[in-house]
Amino acid sequence: MITDIWWASGTFWRKTAIWVTAGSFVVLVFLTLDSMSQITAGTKRVPAYSAINHRIEYRFDEKRHVQAPVIGAEEPLFGRKLTEQEAEALVGKGKLTMQAKNCMSCHTLLGNGAYYAPDLTKAWLDPFWGSREVREELMVEFIKDPSDKVHNSLGRRMPKLGVTDEEAHAIVAFLKWMSSIDTNGFPYNFKPLDQGN
């Protein structure tokens, strides 16, 4: 009978299943610990929230052969330089509002979510906003009431979600901060807004 051979026996495979599962899980735990240390806010890959006090760029990295965010000269959001705590509170409020309005059920963030509306990973840097000078104000106004603004030729529009002025400012802060995360070159070949010199 074939099941008498060791490699076809239930006992052998039961033990294998247990060891493989336990082994994989242990490896995952170690990788998770390492990843957490590398993606805490304030690290090279995931910058501190005060990055919103600076210009964020997305430049081609010759060594890695992908685009990567670069934190440039001081360029405070809404013209107001924030402390680390203030910046964290503002970005946090923005993230919370994005969850409360369920943005992810139409948009993608870091490529995850739904596909009915554009990806927001580089929303801050998108050429849609025209120029650096008008971007912040346009973003705030758009988020507060997008229903009467120009979107696209499809007729697909974002609904008015009851976002307050304070929440809209916070969302912009979150989007600016998110654009500073090193995403290994995603989105690829992205052409950011011309932010001048």
Partner: protein, 480 residues
């Protein structure tokens, strides 16, 4: 024992009586999933449809949440279904299990009502706790999260205590260990953080480790029981296969989690680890196909329940193609860089969830109906047998059609939005308005309608199959 062909709960054991309650709610939620999917699909073609009333975000959220919950209800029902058969004793703590069923169902109804009527809230923690958490798939507010964990704990207790008091089988052992992961992993998604990278890291623990590991192993156990019940396959064979599948599934799936860590801020080593292990993820699914087809061949397709057997085979192939092939096609980072966040994922998601999970739940619905009607004949020459066959054709063809429509749209998006236009918003809309994309969405809608028709016929069949049937069920052949 009442007359053959009549629905009568005295035909069922305690666990099975509870199981058919779960199955009933699951079948209704399946309908809700389809209805809201159709609404969301239609909004791609007619953007002003229900704008400001039931926006895409709401329809899409209910669509995917109904899916998660109906599948979960199907799994829970299936485990209660086999619990007494496997353990040899009545379910321990069945009253508590029954109570939890009503609480769980009521909670689901409240969550959906809030989704539809309240929709969104202010940017406060109270919204996260009471209205929605706003994170894809696990949008349920925090109070419901806690409820889900409590319900799953009671479910785990029922299963573990029953097997402990009765006898452990291989299937029982695998299922109980898997249930620990089922509620344990869910808790990884129950906290708020400002850091989106950390947020998505743990969010994927829930989504991936549920769907691509824990759920897969769970249906592996259900498949083993299904093959024994429907074909009379030998326990020693199916359990050995089950262990092989668990080893391969967890061996590839746990670290395969890395394919979600390519672009969320996580370190570059995930490109290698995620790419490698997720590329292996189809291997256990091949094993499952081989196993199911081999067993059917050995038994010369002599099943006691043709509809269930048909859906078990559909599960084996659907899982392989939907989860395996469609997942593999865009899992390597070199390709995923262009396909991530496009309709590619939707194409894969549709075929995988249906192929891997909807199918096996439907198989269990049929297994349950057969016994509920007094172990009635469900092999060849069934009265009204056209219904299960046609609903199966319509559901499968409808799903394949939707998958293909979405795939064409996804290819077009990867090419035009990503590769050519450089992923800007203008590029996104250039791709969305392209005729190829629009045609893909149009055909998705057509096949969505076909799928809905298949669902209607499925429900009609489930309600009527075996009625007026006087022949007792075929006895499965022994051995093999």
């Amino acid at each position: 024992m009442t007359a053959l062909g009549t629905i009568d709960s005295t035909n069922l054991n305690g666990g099975q009586k509870l199981a058919v309650k779960y199955f009933s709610v699951a079948a209704i939620l399946f309908g809700a999933q389809i209805a809201f999917g159709l609404l969301a699909g239609l909004q791609y073609l007619i953007p002003d449809f229900l704008y400001g009333v039931l926006d895409f975000s709401i329809n899409r959220m209910v669509h995917i949440n109904a899916m998660v919950v109906w599948m979960l209800f199907g799994f829970i029902g299936s485990v209660y279904w086999l619990l007494e058969d496997e353990s040899g004793i009545p379910v321990v703590g069945l009253k508590l299990g029954n109570l939890v069923f009503w609480i769980f169902t009521l909670a689901v109804a409240v969550v959906v009502a809030v989704y539809l009527l309240v929709q969104v809230g202010p940017g406060e923690q109270s919204t996260i706790w009471l209205i929605t958490e706003g994170r894809e798939y696990i949008e349920a507010p925090r109070w419901a999260d806690i409820g889900i964990v409590v319900c799953l704990l009671v479910f785990f207790f029922n299963a573990a205590a029953t097997f402990s008091k009765g006898k452990w089988t291989g299937i029982g052992g695998v299922l109980v260990l898997d249930l620990i992961a089922l509620f344990g992993i869910y808790m990884a998604g129950m906290f708020y953080t400002t850091n989106i990278s950390v947020d998505q890291y743990w969010w994927w623990w829930v989504i991936h480790l549920w769907v691509e590991a824990t759920w897969e192993v769970l249906v592996g156990g259900l498949m083993a029981y299904g093959l024994m019940t429907v074909l009379g396959a030998r326990r020693k064979i199916v359990e050995t296969w089950l262990y092989i599948e668990v080893a391969l599934m967890f061996g590839s799936g746990i670290l395969g989690l890395g394919h979600h860590y390519f672009w969320i801020g996580t370190p570059e080593y995930w490109l290698t680890i995620g790419g490698f292990f997720s590329a292996l993820e189809p291997v256990p699914l091949v094993a499952m196909v081989v196993h199911a087809v081999f067993d059917s061949g050995v038994k010369h397709m002599r099943s006691i329940n043709h509809p269930a057997m048909g859906w078990l085979i559909a599960h084996a192939f659907g899982n392989f193609f939907g989860a395996g092939v469609w997942g593999f096609m865009h899992t390597l980072p070199q390709i995923n860089l262009f396909t991530h966040g496009t309709q590619w994922s939707a194409s894969h998601g549709h075929l995988a969830f249906f192929g891997a999970y909807a199918t096996i739940n439907i198989a269990f619905f049929y297994i349950a109906l057969q016994k509920w009607r007094g172990n009635v004949w469900m092999s060849g020459g069934l009265i009204g047998g056209w219904k299960w066959k046609w609903s199966m054709v319509l559901l499968n063809l409808g799903m394949v059609g939707m998958t293909m429509g979405l795939l064409v749209a996804g290819y077009e998006q990867s090419q035009i939005e990503r590769a050519i236009e450089g992923s800007s918003w203008a590029g996104y809309f250039a791709a969305q308005s392209h005729p190829w994309f629009q045609q893909g969405m149009f055909w998705r809608m057509i096949f969505g309608g076909m799928f809905a028709a298949g669902y209607a016929l499925l429900i009609l069949d489930l309600v009527t199959i075996g009625r007026r049937e006087t022949r007792p069920a075929l006895r499965p052949s022994a051995g093999g």
